[in-house]
Symmetry: C3
Subunit: 273 residues, 3 copies
Amino acid sequence: MSATDARAAASNAAATLERVRSESPLVQNITNYVVMNTTANALLAVGASPAMVHAVEEVEEFVGISRALVINVGTLSAPWVEAMRAAATRAAERGIPWVLDPVGAGATAFRTGVSQELARLRPAAIRGNASEIMAVAGGSGGTKGVDSTQRSADSLDAARELASRLGTVVAVTGATDYVTDGTRMVAVSNGHAMMARVTGLGCTATALCGAFLAVEKDPLAAVAHALAVLGVAGEMAADLSHGPGSLQLHLLDALYTMDERVLADRARVDWGS
Amino acid sequence: MSATDARAAASNAAATLERVRSESPLVQNITNYVVMNTTANALLAVGASPAMVHAVEEVEEFVGISRALVINVGTLSAPWVEAMRAAATRAAERGIPWVLDPVGAGATAFRTGVSQELARLRPAAIRGNASEIMAVAGGSGGTKGVDSTQRSADSLDAARELASRLGTVVAVTGATDYVTDGTRMVAVSNGHAMMARVTGLGCTATALCGAFLAVEKDPLAAVAHALAVLGVAGEMAADLSHGPGSLQLHLLDALYTMDERVLADRARVDWGS
Amino acid sequence: MSATDARAAASNAAATLERVRSESPLVQNITNYVVMNTTANALLAVGASPAMVHAVEEVEEFVGISRALVINVGTLSAPWVEAMRAAATRAAERGIPWVLDPVGAGATAFRTGVSQELARLRPAAIRGNASEIMAVAGGSGGTKGVDSTQRSADSLDAARELASRLGTVVAVTGATDYVTDGTRMVAVSNGHAMMARVTGLGCTATALCGAFLAVEKDPLAAVAHALAVLGVAGEMAADLSHGPGSLQLHLLDALYTMDERVLADRARVDWGS
């Protein structure tokens, strides 16, 4: 990609981030217990307004006041599935963008089945690692617990097919993140290896996708920008960190302080011009 | 308020904190998933002994060994409501002070209804933002998710009325916190804007109210002192922080190290003499 | 113990840690809401691969791909007990080591009963404070909430008897940690008093025992090494910390960076030669 394209991509990512900050969209999360605190903090750090609301008694009503919905199956159980189904259906009906994180799809029949069912309820985007995306697409994912055993590049065909079939955007994250709507394919090459030693940064990526989908109509751009912002924040944090404890702290600070100049320096978003 | 009054107020807050540290009261929490870890850490940092116990099978038995109870409806679901009701009833019967945090009251019929029902079970105190307190009082709160859209000063009439009607103390927190028992009104003007970018610091305020209610018989003083201590800790933390990640860390350290001198310098508790 | 024995013990602990890092075992956790995030982060920091999976629909299937299982009763409720029972039974059948953390046993009849029942399902190890181990063994634990009121040395007889009766390893943690298989008794004298002001470090100890049991066949050694590694990390962290907020951060960094040299300097593991 040319230097001009790179600058434009970084500038667009910065503009989307700025809209999250100025509009502070309410983002509803039906997510897993492990990351509820950390993804709420990441959403607050970029300027969004998170709410963790999952009771079947109120989940649809709450969708009505939200600007985006995040559904993450990380710590699944039967009552939650019912709430996820109801909230996703309502969001799709109302045109409220929602994003699916099929954590651990492929690891058990239960979570593969639930993830595939939810994927058919018209999410604006799906984000997972290579194994998870393969499993949602119907292939054999080879998941080892919640960590991917597939190289993300290997799953790009599955991602493209899934995106086309469902009319959604699919992101396969890894050392390089790939985002596709079935036709276009964007590569985001930010991040740092130490991020894999902090729990739930994949879930954080999905949560940020929710916030960016709330303010940006093109879901391919929204997801690519969210992944670039998180990856750059991870790099900034790694520069200051001695381990995963300090990385997590500096990552939140970096999301809070990030500006267009930093993104122009660091963001590597390739629209495959 | 006079300088003498200000010094006395700070000194009283320090004395209550010192009693939390020396008595290390067991504080039972039925709280939301997002803040279980962070409110437990805040309670530990001030010297209390937190326990997160909510199963209906044991919740009443556990009230019997606790010195205070915190009920927070943040991530409500039907089985938890049953446990909250049982625990609150038992605490009121036994004279164990309990504090209600009606997170998101006003946002859905479910949580408004549950919050109003629990408020009638004789809490020693209720703490919320302006929207939440308005909703519990029966007005139209205009909640946007879990963040307030009402200025706290606007809700003072509702707080006073609610406190009088229920015979409780009501705290409306915001840029300035107001605490009332229906007659008296205390204003606490501590804290820092960046605190709103860390999830669950309102819930942390409520948890600290629980610890302070365990050792201080006057609930108006207990709540005012807890809010002052948290606000001062937030200011101390903000001085050292580059963003919400570091703020959260330094806040716990500040709660742990706070002493009377710091409170004398910083606490702004106005008893409206 | 001789200097030679001390060096050998530290070297063995370092070797076990190195195997966790190189093998990155998948460790399944059915644990409490308070510590899900922090114990996942501790497992990641030592190089293991944590998964928090507890739904009864998938818990047994997941055991089949895990190398160790951690069961922690901290925030117990009836549906979880069913999943714990199923997972523990399956793990024992398959020869997958599992470790029990009977958080708060002794505090209520519900959690004492569940802890005693789970203890009979052939765990490789049980870790608790003195009160909890006394309660599991059937004595009167005198638990004050989740914090021990018994000196750990007082409960060594109970630990030895429990270990012999169940054919398991029992660890009683406190200022000094004691680990026994009913015959041998290992003392680990690491750690720092400020660790008690961070929630869930006992649960973190148990989680690390799970990771170490996955790679080390002698459960007595696995547990002793896990406790030494955590204790040394706590000391390293305390050297850098002003309070419990910074302690938690530096603890994760210390687990991540720890090497044989640090363990040789700091580890105090006495096999009572």
